[in-house]
Structure formats: structure tokens, C-alpha cells
Symmetry: C2
Subunit: 163 residues, 2 copies
């Protein structure tokens, strides 16, 4: 993965950030949310890559573990993933031997999702990696800020305006 030119350009761009003013953006939560999310995804994905997962796949595994037998559309809805896209993501997890799709007994259109024994083992490792990532976020943001941010953002409900 040679990135001699690209890394240099990015480093230079970062250096110039200090001289750039953000104007009204400083007053907009969306700007900071986007910036933080960008960093969080890169850091979390870098950790999860060691067990061939990423943030999305991990979130799906964790949600299935918390809701055994749930249908694809329920997990997709909870995570804000399109149901069309969920198909390919679950294909990946199934081919990796981490989940099973069984016909639901209540509704034969639906798949009842579940973790395999291997899925449970990987999920346990993933949760350890994500916990380490959370500590990095907390250290970076400051422990007090981290707690405040988590408490404030956890109260946001998105359901009403979906779709």
C-alpha cells in the first residue's frame, strides 16, 4: 500500500487547516458531527479489520445477538440500512460462517436471523476491539466531553422522519 504522494498531500492539507477559518460552520452541530463520525469510522474500522469486520458488519452481528430470530428488515430498520443493501451484507456474514438465515415459522416470507457458534466467538472479539476504540475516542475527546456527548446524543430519536 504505497501512498507516498497521497500521504504527503494530506499531511500538507492538514497543516493548512490551522490557517483556515470555518465561519458559521463553528456554530453548526452537523459540521462537528460529520468530522467526529469520519474519525470514529476510520479508527473503529482499523481495529475491526484485524478480524475481517467493519463497523457495519459488527453492528449487524451485535443487533442479531441482541434480537435472535429477528427478520432482516427489522435489523435493517434499526441500523438505518436499506433492505436491498442488507442482502449483500448478510451474504458476507453468512459466507464467513458467522450467521444463519432460517425461514421464520410465524411468517414464511421472512428470514429468522441468528449467530453461529463462530459468530458468537467473533462478536466477543469484536466487542473487545470496539471497547478499545471507545477508550481512544474518550481519550481524544476528553472523558468528560465523551460522557456528555454520549448522554446528549443518546436521547435523539430518529423514527418519525424516516422514509
Amino acid at each position: 500500500m504505497s501512498k507516498s504522494a497521497g500521504a504527503g498531500a494530506q499531511r500538507e492539507a492538514a497543516r493548512q487547516d490551522a490557517a483556515i477559518r470555518l465561519g458559521e460552520l463553528e456554530n453548526h452541530l452537523g459540521y462537528f458531527v460529520r468530522r467526529l463520525q469520519h474519525w470514529i469510522f476510520r479508527d473503529a474500522n482499523a481495529g475491526l479489520a484485524t478480524i475481517d469486520l467493519d463497523v457495519i458488519l459488527y453492528s449487524i452481528l451485535e443487533t442479531i445477538a441482541a434480537n435472535p430470530g429477528a427478520a432482516q428488515i427489522a435489523v435493517a430498520g434499526a441500523l438505518g440500512i436499506e433492505r436491498a443493501r442488507m442482502v449483500a451484507l448478510l451474504d458476507d456474514l453468512q459466507q464467513a460462517g458467522l450467521i444463519v438465515r432460517e425461514r421464520s415459522e410465524q411468517d414464511r416470507r421472512a428470514h429468522a436471523l441468528g449467530l453461529t457458534p463462530r459468530g458468537r466467538v467473533i462478536l466477543k472479539k469484536a466487542n473487545a476491539l470496539v471497547a478499545a476504540h471507545e477508550k481512544r475516542v474518550a481519550r481524544r475527546l476528553g472523558v468528560d466531553n465523551y460522557r456528555r456527548a454520549l448522554a446528549a446524543l443518546a436521547q435523539f430519536e430518529t423514527d418519525e422522519t424516516r422514509g
Copy 2:
């Protein structure tokens, strides 16, 4: 924009959210950040669409206004946009008559970016629309939570790990 089938599916998915547990995700800032960002982008873009802008184009306009004469790579670096992608975004703004690209006198490789008079008018309207959006975010999140979130997240510095 007929979305009879899609909207129905999404509404159903949202309804089922209530029954879905999130497990460890409840303790992860990244989950809530992603959820909030998703809502914020949709809401802000819906507002800005009335003047043919979106959040990214608005952020670029505002940054240029705050840093007249800045080079493309400096603006890109401040906003976390790839410099390759910045080219097309600035093409859009230029074709819309909102910005100008002039050769920098200090560094003839670089473009000195600036707003046109029309760009300044549109940016003023955009800032009003975004201010209205921010109020919706604050109302949705609760004013105290909004202030706490803004204060906490504004202290996150991303520079070190770019690239």
C-alpha cells in the same frame, strides 16, 4: 417523486425499531453519531434544496467566504473532502455562477477561490436556511442536549490522524 411502496416499507421498519434491542451499541458514541448525522444531513439538505445547494456545497461556500483567496486543497483539507472530488464540486459552484477560480499570484499552481456577488447572496440565504435547520435539531434534541453536544464535539481535533 412517487414512493408509495418504499415509504410503506420504511414506515413498517421504523415501527419495528421499538421492538429491536441495540445491545452494546447503546454504549457506543459512534452509533449515536451516525444516527444523528443521518438525520441532520437529510433535514439540512431538504432545506438547502430550495436554493439548489446541499450541505457539502454550502460548507464550501461558507469556507471560501471565511478564507477569500484560499487554495482548493486548503478548503478540501478543512472539510475532509478529497482534492480529486473537490474539482467537480467547484465546477458545479462555478457553473452556477457562485464562485470564481483565479490563478494565485503567490503560487501559480494554485487557484485562489472567491465568491461572486451572486455567491454572496446565495450564501446569505443558505445561512438563514441552515440556521432554521439548527433550530430544528435543537428542538429535536432538546436545547440543553444540543448545547452540551455542540460544546463537547467542538473540542474534537482530527488533524493528527488524517491520511
